[in-house]
Subunit: 638 residues, 2 copies
């Protein structure tokens, strides 16, 4: 049966299940969804259950869209929406897209536009024909989110074509009689950086992550040229677990090399990775290093991105279903669960995960409907890599800040824009609100503020407590007056020229670049100041050197481009425990308490000895087959 | 440097090393060789050392060919050859090929045409310009050998183009900076049948064997469609270890699927595999089974075959050198040694091997200049698969024959055409000559006689003793009067209709097809007859059933196509010890005594538990890393 016949067939099936007088114009695959066009969207809206029942019967995701003929003109529609939606929703920015019959409504309280179980949305549809989509008006303005939303709206027509072609690929006919499942490791094994895997069956091939090894020019790229990945144009899908560049950095490159398929990720991951990718090529260009792709390829990736919510089972290939689960590592970070064939095999790629609660996120999920094979990160896989508790880490940080402020000193914290910065911000806001530390300004420099704005845009992805305080108590810690984004060179210069007790959070996290260097040069010589490391410092970085105790640092002068020597008289403190990665115990527990018990665990994303150590410990404790993966191998699961 | 520049460069280098007055017309890569064309072949012929020195300096194989201008006309040349070569050489069939300036001379005693260290050959060149190639006039006429030689002569022009293009591929420029070596298993792991591997580097990909699993329609083919093998057109080379169909059966199919490169094997392997491949598709067609390719593709493979002698180091890709070593399994069977990069890594694929002397062959070679990784067969890898000695096996077989002949019975031996048949023939000839068994006729039915003719054509590939008795004592056991090829249906019918004491060797070896079935139907009911198994009977074959003791066998009637039941009253004997495979002890010894000691051993070509058993035993005894390979995996060696 070819795809046209299949669609005709589906149309008949759907019609047969509808009430007698309901008609549909056409059905079409768009991405993983089946879209039903009808001249009577009201009837569907009236019967919320019809779609749910249909989707269950047909085992696919179904959306109903109005036939263009029945749409009320935009002007009139806006009035009607205004009448239906309560004013407290604070709607703004309506965008009507006749291609898909959707109106995108930005609202400060999207829940009020949605209504109980979608009641309000359905009422809107009944009145105007258009299908309303609600997005949150960001409480902190994010340039990234705004640009991406605009970009997606402007390219809706092209996107529809992309989705149609993806949909047809997913639902193509299959022919192979062989049954096997393989994993190919293209990067990120026995190392951290350039994470990249391929999961393949006789029918399909999907890539999981495609990261860059920022620390190394030589081994920067995953081995994308090996036959298992070649030609990239024949991959079915790329799955992105989270936005960090060691997972997302080379996804735009795929489009340069001929890939034209979809990228699946969560909504926050889409926005955060675009932010980090653009910054990556921007910095590389400025530093005269290899710039592997252009911003146009970042946009290409965006056009092909299909966002999925956690726990949403989605067909991504004829024989592969993908489900994302919260991984607790950074905003939008996901564990990817693949169900292959009709119960043939289940593989879980953990990506980076935190199996423990943090200020920001719930712990990683380790309960699945089924799982036979697990591919797990091993960043802290070493048996002596136990970390202090978060509580201890917070106390330690507070004490360091109190001590420094007592001396009227400045606290300088190098931090990654995405992840630890927001964690530290919440800790500081909490301590200031409770009076535990003085109410000094907390400057945020680099991309931290922009990344925080994206966090504030997607509170659904934060943990219960934080979400509640944002939604219900109206007490968004990110909006605290203590936080001062450094949004100009003038402000930065002022902070440097007029030193006063404060906390400065600045990128880059390992001090290899970014505004942190300016502050360091200015404040290093004063013994009343403190430099606090809250994240991992990789070998070869300035951060690691300072941690090791270097007291004289040669640096390029900010004034004349020559070299100056920085004397490090400031205190240097290392506050462990803020990691977004599971520590050794959490890695072991994640596997031990996994439901159901997996048959096989492969380790990756860690130094060689950590990966091996973790694999052998998991084997000894659980009697589960384990192995530390090696780059460039293809192993068979079934 | 592109290839034309490289050739000009080589030409200059060669000229600079020649005596002042020697000129060359042109140089060209043809297959792995560098061909030097000259108008003065006599000068090269005079100085046998020039070429040897050049080859060493340039690290490549060099042949010198006369420029067409200087060739003496064929008629005249034949007279001159007659004057130079002694009459005892018994030359016949001259074939002049102006394309390559070669004359092929068939002779009964090629050594006399070659002369001491090639002296006579050089004398011929000096006289006529043409380069003489000597081939043995087969002492038993082989249709196969005759057809292939004719075919190769008729397609010499196309072959020259093929060789030129192969040569250019081998000597192409390389660019990659990465260094890695991988092995992909496409078939023959944890099973016997469809052996197929790919050895790959960033520059090159070569396939080792491409066999068919005759016993299984479902898992008949290696997994040729996986990315590591795809597209076949981009493979650099196919290496064939020996002619058995589980290694050679799908090589013609590669040409159907787009492969256009060379097949490297020994000369006997080329002829034997063409024989077996043609028979394979012939039988499949007759039995109404899948015929995977046509005879035209067998010819295509022949056209692309480049034969190599044992111990001849040959460039087969920019970064891979191949050397074949005797493997002692069947005529022409080889162990393939790959030297990769400039000392980067050395891999040995054993193919099938016998690490022990037999009547036909020397033991397999296990001394190499270097070796890090070994991929070994495991047919008898089980710890309880120790076999009787050959001597005991021979005695056992003699006794069975004596007992049967005493009762005026008939001895029926199902045998593979290539390998065990010739071994058994030599044992029987020896026993008859020594008067140990009666001088009854030994009928050879199926392809056994043709395969024997090929053995007789290439005595250089037999062991010392047998070769000596053929060459020096003029006592070729294959030419014994006791052997009666069954070359017509009439003769077969006569043997069946007029039973008399005799030994019948007939194919197929596992009684799944072939003339053996006719004899079995005729002689099974008589308790004075004996059925003797000298080879392995796979599960599911008639041979295995009879071994297990079935006494009533339903078979299709040879008369009317209906079903008849055969009562098995004849004796059934199993004579172990005639295997061309190493038994358990020989497998273990092969690795233990290997020089140098390898770092890693992978097992394949055996039932799953045998492969695992052998891998774990080798690890325990030698503390060498081992693993039983799985189909569809790609492992990394470097
Ligand atoms: Zn991460
Ligand atoms: Zn990571
Ligand atoms: Zn064999
Ligand atoms: Zn074999
Ligand atoms: Zn060798």
């Amino acid at each position: 049966m070819d795809i046209e016949e299949m669609l005709l067939d589906l149309k008949k099936k759907i019609e047969s299940k509808l009430p007698n007088d309901t008609t549909i114009s056409t059905v079409e695959f768009e991405g993983p969804q089946l879209v039903v066009y009808t001249e009577e969207p009201r009837k569907f809206a009236d019967n919320g259950n019809i779609i749910r029942t249909l989707a269950k019967d047909l085992r696919t995701r179904i959306v109903v869209r109005p036939d263009p003929k029945v749409l009320v003109p935009p002007e009139e529609s806006m009035d009607k929406i205004g009448n239906i939606v309560p004013e407290e929703a604070a709607t703004s920015n309506y965008h009507f897209d006749p291609d898909v019959g959707e109106v995108i409504i930005e609202a400060e309280k999207p829940g009020l536009v949605i209504g109980k179980q979608g009641d309000t949305l359905r009422e809107i549809t009944k009145e105007i024909g258009w299908t309303p989509k609600v997005v949150r008006t960001p409480p902190i303005k994010s340039r990234t989110v705004k640009n991406i939303r605009e970009f997606m709206r402007n390219n809706h027509k092209e996107r529809k074509d992309i989705l149609k072609s993806v949909g047809r690929q997913i639902h193509r006919e299959t022919t192979t009689k062989d049954q096997w499942v393989r994993i190919t490791s293209l990067g990120g094994c026995k190392e951290v950086g350039r994470s990249c895997f391929i999961l393949s069956t006789p029918e399909s091939r999907v890539m999981i992550d495609c990261g860059v090894n920022i620390g190394s020019d030589e081994n920067m790229t995953p081995y994308l040229y090996v036959p298992e990945a070649y030609p990239l144009s024949q991959l079915d899908a790329v799955i992105l677990t989270h936005a960090h560049l060691d997972h997302s950095g080379f996804i735009p490159l795929l489009y340069k090399y001929g890939y034209q398929g979809p990228v699946y990720c969560t909504l926050p991951t889409r926005d955060l990775s675009a932010l980090l990718q653009l910054d990556y090529i921007d910095v590389a260009g400025k530093e005269g290093r290899i710039v592997p792709y252009e911003s146009s390829q970042v946009r290409e990736a965006l056009k092909h991105t299909i966002t999925l919510d956690f726990e949403e089972v989605t067909d991504i290939a004829p024989d592969i279903k993908l489900t994302f689960h919260n991984s607790g590592h950074i905003l939008g970070s996901a564990i990817a669960h693949f169900h292959i064939g009709d119960g043939l095999h289940n593989v879980v790629f953990t990506g980076d995960y935190k199996y423990g609660s943090t200020r920001l996120f719930d712990p990683a999920v380790n309960k699945f409907p089924r799982v036979e094979t697990v591919v797990t990160e091993s960043t802290y896989g070493s048996s002596n890599a136990v970390q202090p508790t978060l509580k201890d880490a917070e106390k330690h940080l507070q004490q360091v800040i109190i001590n420094t402020l007592q001396k009227d000193g400045i606290v300088l914290i190098p931090a990654f824009a995405v992840g630890r910065s927001q964690e530290v911000m919440i800790v500081l806001e909490d301590a200031i609100r409770k009076g535990l530390i003085d109410d000094v300004p907390i400057y945020l420099d680099g991309m931290i503020w922009e990344a925080t704005a994206i966090h504030a845009t997607y509170p659904e992805y934060l943990n219960n407590e934080l979400r509640k305080s944002i939604f219900q108590k109206g007490q968004n810690p990110f909006l605290s007056d203590s936080f001062k984004p450094v949004d100009s060179n003038e402000l930065r210069q002022k902070i440097i020229d007029e030193p006063h007790p404060c906390v400065i959070l600045a990128t880059a996290g390992m001090m290899n670049a970014g505004p942190i260097l300016e502050y360091f040069k200015a404040f290093a010589s004063n013994e009343n100041n403190t430099l606090v490391f809250v994240g991992y410092q990789a070998d070869g970085t300035l951060g690691r050197r300072i941690q090791k105790g270097w007291k004289e640092i040669p640096m390029s002068s900010s004034v004349n481009g020559g070299t100056q020597t920085i004397n490090v008289n400031m205190n240097v403190e290392v506050v462990d425990g803020f990691s977004g990665h599971s520590d050794r115990k959490q890695l072991m527990d994640f596997v031990k308490k996994m439901k159901p018990r997996p048959e096989r665990v492969y380790t990756e994303h860690g130094e060689e000895k950590f990966c091996i150590d973790l694999a052998s410990s998991i084997y000894k404790k659980n009697k589960i087959e384990t192995r530390a993966l090696t780059n460039l191998e293809t192993i068979r699961l079934v």
